[in-house]
Amino acid sequence: MAVDTWEGLTGHDRHAACLVAAQAGNRRALDTLVVDLTPLVWHVARSQGLDRSSAEDVVQTVWLALLCKLGQVEHPKALAGWLITTTRREARRTKAAGYDRVAPVPTETLEDFPTPPAQTTPDTPEQVVLRDDRDRRLWGAFSRLSDRCQELLKLTVLAGRAQYEAVADALNMPRGSIGPTRGRCLDRLRELVGQEGGHRERRQRPGA
């Protein structure tokens, strides 16, 4: 059997190779995309404030939408960006229609660990409490970043680090400024992690 064209590739090169193969009817290529990129779609949907059930349906709808548009994606390397944009649109549509009846879980509400998330998020029984001190401090610090920084870092991590273009387009930022902005967000995160250590002083969240 021929070696898969995406074998050994990473990031958007891998996704582009999969997409081209999927367009030619290769189901395994499509499966590979689903496995690689469903975490991105999931977290983007959740970042829009959807409860877990609604997010699950949005994830499915987005992939079904890709299936319908498979032949029309002209720039395979832009796939992650397309998924981000489509997921946000679908999530907004779901929320606008009032489908999302269960209280959403904005990341900010998880700030006060070790409060069990179950207390504020009844729809997430499987959600783990962060027991590890480093995790708790890092999450506490992350939650105090500006929304813009949170989103930028989340998309950077989930879309793969090479995908500046997808992240820049999704955030309406000039591509060249992603790297420096991300650097500043990470610096700020380190600073906040330091503060999470002993005292938990409250400060105004910086504007996005």
Binding site: R46, C68, L130, D135, R161
Partner: protein
């Protein structure tokens, strides 16, 4: 992992480490449902790629479907509404459905790990199927036009019966 592309400076190693930590953390804080990838793979494993996606109409219905009692769920896409009532009976489930507007369309009930159940709606759009295996389920409606030919295919997200 990948280095940054040519437009960007290479991120410092400590930045990459912190990003990797965040990567792990996001999944700890808000883990994807364990079966989500499998459900997506099932939902898109369709013969026909030219489909329209119907969406849930009421979120609260969804909760019920995942529970044990009989339930009615509604999906909609532009000009088609699919209502279906599920009555669990042991290891299987009875489906009573209604397509609006009605027509003698073909309804395929796909259940993960089982052969599809195929039934036809009558001219009023009503359809029924007995003894559908329970599990991750998706409805596929093949719409026939006035000449009786298949014209469009509408699919739903999966539900768990």
């Amino acid at each position: 992992m990948n280095a940054a592309n040519g437009q960007e400076r290479n991120p410092a190693e400590e930045d990459l480490l912190l990003l990797a930590e965040l990567d792990v953390l996001f999944d700890k804080v808000d883990p994807m449902p364990a079966d989500l990838v499998d459900r997506v793979r099932f939902a898109i494993a369709l013969e026909d790629l030219d489909v329209e996606v119907a969406r849930w109409v009421h979120a609260e219905e969804r909760v019920g479907v995942r529970g044990p009692s009989p339930n009615t769920v509604t999906f909609t896409v532009e000009d088609l509404t699919i209502m279906v009532s599920l009555t669990p009976a042991g290891a299987s489930c009875r489906f009573d459905g209604w397509l609006v507007p009605g027509g003698p369309h073909t309804v395929e009930i796909r259940v993960s790990g089982h052969p599809s159940t195929i039934t036809s709606a009558d001219s009023d759009g009503r359809f029924a199927a007995d003894e559908v295996p329970r599990g991750t389920t998706q409805l596929v409606v093949h719409i026939v036009d006035d000449r009786g030919e298949r014209s469009r295919t509408v699919v739903t997200p999966t539900l768990v019966s």
